[in-house]
């Protein structure tokens, strides 16, 4: 009940905390995951390349 009253008194904080903050947090997490994935993949590819080179050399 108290949440009901609070949201009616502070509609802007309600939508900012409830919707926009959550949405931007999700976007931030997604970007972080994508960047992390790229880092990991690059690392793997580099390792493979080094392994190939040492085999040849």
């Amino acid at each position: 009940m108290s949440l009901d009253i609070w949201m009616r008194e502070n509609p802007l904080s309600y939508i900012w905390i409830g919707s926009y903050a959550v949405a931007f947090l999700i976007f931030a997490i997604e970007i972080a995951m994508v960047v992390h994935k790229r880092k990991i993949t690059l690392q793997q590819v580099r390792l493979m390349r080094e392994a190939d080179e040492s085999e040849e050399g």
Binding site: M7, P11, Y14, I15, S19, K37, T41, L42, M48
Partner: protein, 245 residues
């Protein structure tokens, strides 16, 4: 200068092109998002009926629109990959799926937060809400099927078939849910009738474009990782500057 577009449908060239484009998309997404929020929160007036609460739509409506369009685009890419056997299309399909699912989730979440002050309930079994939930399920099915098949080629093709079946089913599901909803109860609140202020429209449109640009940015970043992973045995990958260093 004539550009050969087909050149960019090969992963080799697309990888470089995407790398060059990503910063531009990312910057314009961020700028437009700021502009959209400024118009939406400072310029646009409060709504006569809904007060300040309506301002949720600047994130809610774009994410709903995106979640639906991204599914169609994903299914189209998947179908292209299945029919013409183009590698890049299948990679694009699997790169779009997580972003689409997240937009569907954001749409549901913000919808619930809008529903609480407006309808007095976090969740209403409204036709649109229910369809959005089912859309999220379809995304999750695509992602988990793709993830549980080890062979990437089989994963691409199986998930593509599922996406096509899903997109054929979406109209049937939407129609049946609407039917079901009218059977149980009339829709309580409709948007029609309340004319939107011009600034509200501008804010919503700007946010929509920003969300599109964001989705493109993340998809391109993801598809670059997928290309690197899938093509790691090829020569051009080992000669890339970022791999060599």
């Amino acid at each position: 200068m004539a550009i050969n577009w087909f050149k960019y449908s090969a992963p080799t060239t697309f990888y470089g092109l995407a790398g060059k484009l990503i910063p531009w998309f990312a910057i314009s997404a961020a700028v437009l998002c700021m502009v959209g929020l400024y118009i939406g929160f400072v310029v646009a007036p409060a709504d006569a009926q809904q007060g300040e609460f309506y301002r949720i739509i600047f994130i809610h409506v774009p994410s709903s629109i995106l979640s639906m369009f991204l599914y169609l685009i994903m299914a189209a890419y998947a179908a292209m990959g299945l029919i013409f056997n183009t590698r890049l299309s299948s990679m694009m399909a699997s790169a779009i799926a997580p972003t689409g699912a997240l937009f569907a989730f954001i749409s549901l979440w913000t919808g619930a937060l809008w529903g609480k002050p407006m309808w007095g309930a976090w969740w209403v079994w409204d036709a649109r809400l229910t369809s959005e939930l089912i859309l999220l399920f379809l995304y999750l099915g695509f992602i988990s099927l793709h993830a549980s098949i080890d062979d990437p080629r089989r994963a691409d093709r199986a998930a593509a078939l599922l996406a096509i079946v899903g997109s054929v089913n979406v109209p049937i599901i939407y129609f049946s849910v609407q039917w079901w909803n009218t059977l149980h109860q009339g829709s309580t609140i409709k948007f029609t009738g309340t004319s939107m202020h011009i600034a509200m429209q501008q804010a919503m449109f700007t946010m929509l474009v920003a969300c599109w640009l964001y989705a493109i940015t993340v998809t391109l970043m993801r598809v670059r990782s997928i290309i690197l992973e899938r093509e790691r045995h090829t020569k051009w990958i080992t000669e890339l500057a970022e791999v060599k260093s």
